[in-house]
């Protein structure tokens, strides 16, 4: 570890010597293990490590960033010099000088809590569990493809800045999921557990995998995948929609998490990820949602072991909880040290995150969560006279200002007279963000609340993938447009 601090200090010293007025450095060591099975055979079996350093500087009032995996004094010094040189080039086309919100210096070390280090669990046991779950799904008639996966990451980062911070963080991240696909006639149907696109991911150890009881759920989703072919088509109508927590997590991500990113709002992502309908004049004025909706961006461990949980962001700002929607009103953005002052904040909200040592930190979601409501799940269903319950995302899309969205899910159930009466296939719903959230009329309580992990959020140029957390419990929405994706009109 001393070596990493030496390299960080060397980088900052060189940057200062070359003319940087500010600098920060992230040395990172990332380890990852990927295991998959398909149809009873091992698919991917791979492990990787990546070590390097990224140096961000301000020189001549402009930003520069360079990264290298040549971790020698000379290599790092050359990289720091290059970062300064790039910053000076940026100044050739810079409209305003960089101004950073004040922040204290921190000397700290933090490790995310976990009970079982997934890298210490025998590989044979991990593969045996996946193959057993795969086998359970393959027993079901009509299932034509079975897939399982586990992914583990251990990330060490050493952050140092020219204001004197020295912060070491170690994060252990685990994830797993299973899926059964059925092809019959002219139709492919799929069910996944506990979520689609890789399952559930969290800042936890192997205990996450054990808690998910893959073997118990494998036959259930396999039966559902096969049964979907005979299910009725989800109708096209305006009606009452109940969303399972895993789908609601993604709804939050797309229609609240992204629009509140201040870099988008300020046009910095206009060429790729897009902008936002949440222009600065909307803050503290817009009625984003119904009055029962409360959303926070909370990176603190108190909120839970989410993919957006940390002690400090990648700009050296401590983890915080920010009100985003309070009693339905729009209250806050995700900001960094460069943008905080533009919305009248004295300090960054601590959301700068980087995928790896070779990427620039950018504003990212932390854990953007819908706080629990008051409903028991069974009561919510029995209180629904006529509705559709949708579970597990199948596709997702939203416009580049985050107004209009469309989601489809793997499965749905029709609710009549307070009871789930039949399975529906090919469900989808769509709407306008603020209209949708203002139609929220019931949210389940904490007993049904899960901090879902979205491990695949892409943003930035060059593209970075980031994990984000989204706490959600099942919730009910009125007068939602349902079934459009499969409309034959």
């Amino acid at each position: 570890m001393m070596l990493m601090w030496d390299l960080c200090t060397n980088a900052l010293d060189t940057a200062k010597l070359r003319g940087a007025s500010y600098g920060d450095v992230r040395a990172m060591h990332l380890r990852q293990r990927d295991l998959t099975t398909k149809n009873g055979q091992v698919g991917t079996l791979a492990q990787s490590e990546s070590v390097g350093i990224g140096i961000r500087v301000v020189a001549h009032g402009a930003w520069g960033f360079a990264s290298t995996d040549r971790l020698t004094r000379d290599g790092v010094a050359a990289c720091a010099a290059q970062a300064v040189s790039i910053a000076k080039a940026s100044a050739l086309a810079n409209r305003s000088k960089v101004v950073l919100a004040p922040e204290k210096a921190y000397i700290d070390s933090w490790q995310s809590p976990f009970r079982k280090d997934p890298f210490e669990i025998p590989l044979g046991a991990q593969l045996a569990l996946l193959l057993a779950a795969d086998g359970e799904m393959r027993k079901v008639k009509g299932v034509t493809l079975t897939e399982t996966s586990m992914q583990f990451r251990k990330v060490d980062s050493w952050f140092a800045s020219s204001i004197g911070s020295r912060i070491h963080q170690r994060k252990v991240i685990s994830g797993c999921g299973i899926g059964a696909t059925s092809f019959q006639g002219q139709e492919i149907q799929k069910r996944s557990y506990p979520n689609s696109f890789g399952g559930q991911h969290a800042l936890e150890g192997y205990e996450l995998v054990e808690s998910l009881e893959l073997l118990k759920h494998a036959p259930v989703i396999a039966e559902e995948a096969a049964a979907l072919h005979a299910a009725a088509q989800c109708p096209e109508k305006f009606g009452t929609l109940v969303l399972a927590g895993n789908q609601l997590g993604l709804q939050i991500h797309e229609s609240i998490g992204h629009p509140i990113e201040l870099d988008r709002v300020l046009g910095q992502e206009a060429n790729f990820a897009g902008t936002s309908f949440l222009t600065l004049d909307q803050l503290n004025k817009l009625k984003y949602a119904s009055s029962i909706v409360n959303v926070v961006a909370d990176a603190r461990l108190d909120h839970g072991p989410g993919l957006g949980t940390f002690a400090y962001d990648d700009e050296g700002v401590p983890a915080q909880c920010t009100d985003i929607i309070k009693d339905g009103k729009f209250r806050g953005y995700l900001s960094n040290r460069e943008t905080a002052h533009l919305i009248g904040l004295a300090r960054s909200s601590g959301t700068m995150r980087t995928e790896s040592w070779n990427r620039l930190p950018i504003i990212r979601m932390t854990n953007v969560s819908l706080l629990p409501g008051t409903w028991d799940y069974d009561d919510l269903i029995s209180d629904t006279a006529d509705g559709i319950l949708m579970d597990t995302n199948r596709s997702w899309s939203i416009d580049d200002r985050r107004y209009q969205f469309q989601f489809s899910t793997e499965i749905a159930w029709e609710i009549k007279g307070g009871k789930k009466v039949r399975m529906l296939k090919n469900p989808s719903y769509s709407g306008i963000t603020t209209e949708f959230w203002n139609s929220c009329e019931a949210i389940c309580k904490f007993d049904h609340w899960t901090l879902w992990g979205t491990p695949n959020c892409g943003k930035g140029q060059p593209m970075q993938t980031m994990g984000t957390g989204h706490g959600a419990a099942p919730a009910r929405f009125r007068n939602v447009r349902i079934g459009t994706a499969f409309s034959k009109q």
């Binding site: 149809n39 791979a46 360079a66 990264s67 086309a93 046009g267 060429n271 899309s397 209009q404 469309q406």
Partner: protein, 465 residues
């Protein structure tokens, strides 16, 4: 003993980064193969991937991000007792390479024996392609900044706001194995992408080339700026089925979602839209598509993840899916020859075509507009996702310039639509095509595709802008 080459890499003292020379790539591979000989590995494969990449990013008419990265990774796959696994590191010293071999073997030991595992391929012959342009590799941050400055100044002069990227770089990939196979390839990359905003509208243009001299930032800025001005005043149309003219980037981003279905493994897994459809008239007779890494407008290595030479494959012939692409494993199952499209092993996806070339036509966007009584000209599509995997229904939004065409002329801009459109249906309604060009978008990899005039394109909802 091979000297750890990382100590010789240079990132300073020259205007641009230097990639590892060929002798050092060979040296790393020989080191890994030598170290692996003293283990229980019966076969060993080594991949080396190296990238030196710069990207200048601008928004609000100024540079706000400007980055450089240089990274080399060595990935080792070992085989022992009919089992195989992969370990990857970016530490190139001998101890780290030895640890990667050991990690690979440790992973492999944990799995059941794979009866389908094939011996590694022996030495192959490759057709050479040259896509390394010194001018691109040598491009400096100052040169990118000056080009960005010109584009931003033009935007300011027109009362517009520019955002975008100017990137350049070089990469190389090398594969070697213990049976004597060795393949290496390097190329350069450059892209310029620009969004011009004139409140409340925006438009976009982008170019991609191995040769930065083929990138013309000012022309792209002016093209996007003119379209943004045209889009300032929008009207709202009702959703429904429209004749559309998709510019090449819009075609690219949409059809790109279909080609993983041309993998033999996807068909074997019954997750492909081609299940039970190979050899049938699935698309219009004007649609022919090849995968051809050697096409002059294509890029990429002429070998696959196992080092097998890529072949040109005719995927669709006059609307009929004729051929799939095969890795060695899927070829053996299907009793076909490998086409050189396999991913690095081990993996569960098998293979995919990555160098798509559409046959195209002899029309042009201008002629398509002139031939249209009522329709929509689409600049770009956004956030495309699959709704129905078998009918290949995709959803997404139009973005950055959607224009109404009436009586052969552009008559105004309209609010963006959401579409829910089957690609199979769409490629049965292609009325006109331009010659295919190298196109670049944001949702699919670059391809050689035409602009297309398409009938009965399904827009399901409209958004607020």
């Amino acid at each position: 003993m091979t000297i750890a080459p990382s100590a010789r890499r240079k990132i300073s003292g020259k205007k641009h980064a230097e990639l590892l020379p060929a002798r050092e790539l060979r040296g790393i591979i020989e080191t890994v193969l030598r170290l692996a000989k003293s283990t229980v590995a019966s076969e060993t494969e080594v991949h080396i991937d190296e990238v030196a990449y710069s990207l200048t990013r601008f928004a609000n008419n100024g540079i706000h991000q400007n980055v450089f990265e240089h990274c080399a990774t060595v990935s080792v796959r070992t085989v022992t007792g009919g089992r195989t696994a992969r370990a990857t590191t970016n530490r190139l010293d001998e101890d780290s390479l030895r640890r990667a071999i050991e990690a690979s073997l440790s992973l492999a030991h944990s799995e059941p024996r794979d009866p389908r595992l094939l011996p590694m391929p022996a030495k192959q012959r490759y057709r050479t392609v040259d896509r390394f342009v010194k001018a691109t590799a040598a491009l400096t941050p100052e040169e990118r900044a000056r080009a960005v400055r010109l584009a931003c100044d033009w935007a300011s002069k027109k009362g517009q706001v520019a955002a975008g990227i100017f990137s350049s770089g070089q990469s190389q990939t090398t594969v070697g194995n213990s049976r004597g196979l060795f393949a290496t390839y390097c190329e350069t990359h450059s892209q310029f992408s620009i969004t011009m905003q004139e409140d409340p509208a925006a438009s976009w243009a982008k170019a991609d080339s191995a040769d930065v001299r083929e990138i013309h930032p000012q022309e792209l800025a002016e093209r996007a700026g003119k379209k943004a001005r045209l889009a300032v005043k929008t009207s709202e149309l009702a959703p429904g089925r429209y004749t559309v003219i998709l510019e090449p980037a819009a075609v690219l981003d949409l059809v790109g979602f279909m080609f993983y279905d041309f993998a033999a493994t996807a068909v074997e897994d019954k997750r492909s839209c081609l299940n039970n459809r190979i050899g049938k008239q699935l698309f219009g007779k004007n649609i022919s598509i090849s995968d051809d890494v050697f096409h002059p407008r294509q890029k990429g290595a002429p070998f696959d993840g196992e080092g097998m030479p890529r072949q040109k494959v005719l995927l669709v012939d006059r609307g009929v899916p004729k051929n799939l692409v095969y890795s060695r494993a899927s070829a053996k199952i299907a009793r076909k020859k490998p086409t050189g499209h396999g991913f690095a092993l081990p993996n569960e996806y098998g293979e995919a075509p990555m160098n798509l070339v559409f046959s195209g036509g002899d029309s042009s966007v201008e002629k398509m507009v002139a031939s249209t009584d009522r329709g929509l000209l689409v600049t770009r599509l956004w956030y495309i996702r699959e709704v129905d995997p078998y009918e290949k229904v995709m959803t997404g939004m139009t973005r950055d310039g959607l224009f109404l065409v009436e009586n052969g002329k552009l008559t105004g801009a309209v609010r963006n639509f959401r579409f829910n459109q089957s690609l199979l249906d769409m490629l049965n309604h292609v009325e006109l095509m331009s010659p295919a060009v190298r196109a670049t978008g944001e949702e699919s990899f670059e391809m050689v595709v035409p602009a297309m005039k398409i009938g009965k394109f399904h827009f399901s909802e409209v958004t607020k802008f």
